[in-house]
Symmetry: C2
Subunit: 455 residues, 2 copies
């Protein structure tokens, strides 16, 4: 058991080392690595491997079906292994004119450091290294074995991560994992998510003719692709958001009493969101636990885009030959994207829409971590000391990520801890980290590492 005096030493060491890890962060940010534009990907992977080696870890660049993955390893006193899932790719910096300093140059203004990727996710790479160094410096060695898996396609949906994990089970074998994000919520309280919804993103396309027709000619006799699409879509969902595909809900696992307990304790953001987005009302419950459950434990069917015929100003009398919709299903445990595509196809066929073509554009399985896992409890306990408040636990969040292979292929509990805060502007211009939250994220991570070695 590590005592408070040792944690105080670790905290001091973090402060002493801070400039060194800001320098490392500056080197990472100076190397563009935009996966959507395939900009700087390989050089950034090399840089990450170099930095891992400088920090005393083994590192190799492992090819994947997509961008290379940096895999690192450091032996500890205890063979128990802690995995760090991170990513070195970043979002595009555009629109450039909205940046107040060059996006690929770490710039300090006041208590904040600015650059593209400085929070998402290069700040987390630097913070993990800072935490590991402080723990090692104070304890004389790493208390547990540490592995890194740092991918280069998170910002484009991690299309190859499931396969990569399956293909490298031994290499990545571990006992627990810290996720690529973490930090504090809008109230400044530390927050952790223990699950992510899956995604099944499809394009639906209807083609009814080989060319558009004049609406005066064809209006009452020609099939119309836009009408076909509207009619097909309308069979998928009712006005309350209930999905009408046969058997769609059969694998939906409701939240457990423990999930509901955590949800109930989490802040109610229904009022803040309604105001931020100018909503008249929500689809179902308007606030409270029921609203929180619906927001994350319900699967969704979202029309993300509609395109057909004439879309410019004024009128054009055209009868469209083609129409497409982008449709995003968010999935909850234990649904799978493959299951949803199959049920969608069967549903469309049964309703006479054999002509509506489905193209699968993105797929990720939902995943959840057991909230009662000791590593989760360890992470919550570690946060108390740093943030002086109880961690908010979200049993699952609405978004998606490559959590499933970690939870189900590697079989590890996954927690979040990090340097994010409500004004981080991830994906937006002037992305930044606040130095106070940066240090707190490092301290929290260091406590998790130290306590995990003792557990």
């Amino acid at each position: 058991m590590i005592d408070n005096a040792t944690y105080a030493q670790i905290d001091r060491r973090i402060e002493e080392n801070l400039d060194r890890y800001i320098d490392i962060l500056a080197r990472l940010c100076a190397q563009p690595s935009v996966s959507a534009q395939h900009l700087g990907i390989e050089p950034c992977a090399e840089l990450v491997a170099t930095i891992l080696r400088e920090e005393g870890f083994e590192a190799e660049i492992v090819p994947s079906a997509g961008n290379p993955v940096v895999v690192g390893r450091g032996e500890g006193r205890n063979p128990k292994t802690l995995l760090m899932y991170l990513h070195y790719d970043v979002q595009p910096a555009e629109p450039l004119e909205l940046w107040e300093s060059p996006p690929f140059e770490l710039t300090r203004r006041g208590n904040r450091l600015y650059a593209r990727g400085i929070s998402d996710d290069k700040g987390h790479i630097a913070a993990r290294l800072a935490a590991l160094a402080a723990v090692r410096d104070v304890l004389g060695e790493l208390p547990c074995t540490v592995k890194f898996v740092i991918e280069g396609e998170e910002e484009i949906g991690s299309p190859n991560m499931q396969r990569f994990v399956e293909d490298h089970r031994e290499l990545l074998a571990s006992d627990a994992c810290i996720w690529e994000f973490g930090g504090v919520n809008v109230y400044g309280d530390p927050e952790m998510s223990l699950g992510m919804r899956g995604i099944c993103y499809v394009e639906l396309k209807v083609s009814t003719a080989n060319r558009d027709a004049h609406s005066g000619l064809g209006g009452s006799i020609f099939p119309n692709a836009a009408w076909r699409l509207v009619q097909a879509l309308n069979t998928l969902r009712d006005e309350n958001g209930r999905i009408l595909i046969d058997g769609f809900y059969e694998n939906v696992r409701p939240p457990s009493p423990r999930d509901c307990e955590y949800l109930d304790r989490a802040p109610d953001e229904s009022g803040v969101l309604r105001e931020m987005y100018g909503l008249q009302r929500y689809l179902g419950a308007q606030s409270g636990l029921e609203w929180k459950i619906q927001a994350v434990f319900e699967p969704t069917c979202t029309v993300c885009g509609l395109t057909s015929g004439y879309q410019g100003p004024g009128s054009k009398t055209v009868l469209p030959a083609e129409a497409t919709a982008k449709v995003d299903f968010r999935l909850v445990p234990d649904q799978t994207p493959e299951e949803v595509v199959g049920k969608l196809r069967a549903h469309l066929d049964r309703h006479g829409f054999e002509d509506v073509a489905i193209t699968l554009l993105a797929a990720q399985r939902p995943a959840k971590v057991d909230p009662d896992d000791p590593f989760v409890q360890l992470t919550i306990a570690a946060a108390r000391d740093v943030y002086d408040t109880e961690m908010v636990v979200q049993p699952i969040i609405g978004g998606s990520g490559p959590l499933y292979p970690f939870v189900s292929v590697l079989g590890v509990p996954v927690v979040s801890a990090g340097v994010g805060y409500s004004d981080s502007r991830a994906h937006a211009p002037n992305e930044n980290v606040d130095l106070d939250y940066f240090v707190k994220g490092i301290r929290h991570t260091a406590r998790i590492i130290a306590a995990f070695g003792e557990q």
Copy 2:
């Protein structure tokens, strides 16, 4: 009664004058007059007035709420008045690279003359003048009074013609009218339309939030503008094209036995169209009289365009705050655009779609000419002699135009006669007239003028 020898003299005179009217046509084509781009509108109106005066007519340029209208007049022996409705504006010439000769320069290749607007509608202006000149030369005077109303906004939907006719009833008062188009169909047979459907073109717009949201955040709780639009549209029409708006059909007048007689005689184009557009099948009847009736005597509700959210390649996980549809209703006698907008609003409100905003983008009333009117019969008889075949009569066509104020405000029968043919390429690159059909159109028009003066 004009005898055949006189008609033969008129035909000869048309041949003798041909170059003069091709020169007039060349002058008209050399003056761009693109209403959609407001290019050369006023100079073209001036040129048309100048040419009318050179041809011995009075002409004035009368302001309208939009582009100026050229109104002309020539006294005849008989006070009975024949009105020529024409337009001096043309479609844009773009795409320019597909033209084989400069669009605003009359170019002869073989038996064809090429230029933008040479068929639609400057060729008809020149042809009417050529017919009038030949008749006057041979008979010594015009056999009837002739008026011209030549507008400059036909290619943008004649938004001000209804009002212009209402405001100038006396100026335009007449006994019969020849429409701006006419000529032969794909089989080379002369064809006349005696009616046009009306149009009520609206934009439907839904707004559910002040900004787009992440689909992972809002999918199961936020209202989604694309879904609202899909659901609202779906209440408007069933899959067979039947419009579900309450009372929508109450003013629909079915075709008369006489209409059906003409339709039955008209060629059956169901096979040709199905092949041209690559259609699997039509919405209702597949061919024959029932198909012909459905094609033109049924009102329509056509989705001309759909726009919402993300429409680019791949996936973007966005929940759209706005969605719009362009919807074109074609109306049959005795429906009106005002009635349809009112019923649409009531329908949307009754179905809980008060939030779907309607913007009226274009409106024209449907109109029909009595097929038994003596002027219609005169026009059919005049064609026999020129084309050696019976005129095909379409009791109404699927498209729309400003026919209503002529039929209902001026109270005149309206016929078609002209220089169009199946390869005219109106609105497309390499618009042209074929000189044989050009001359036949002039001869037919001359016979109508001469016979009307005698009637």
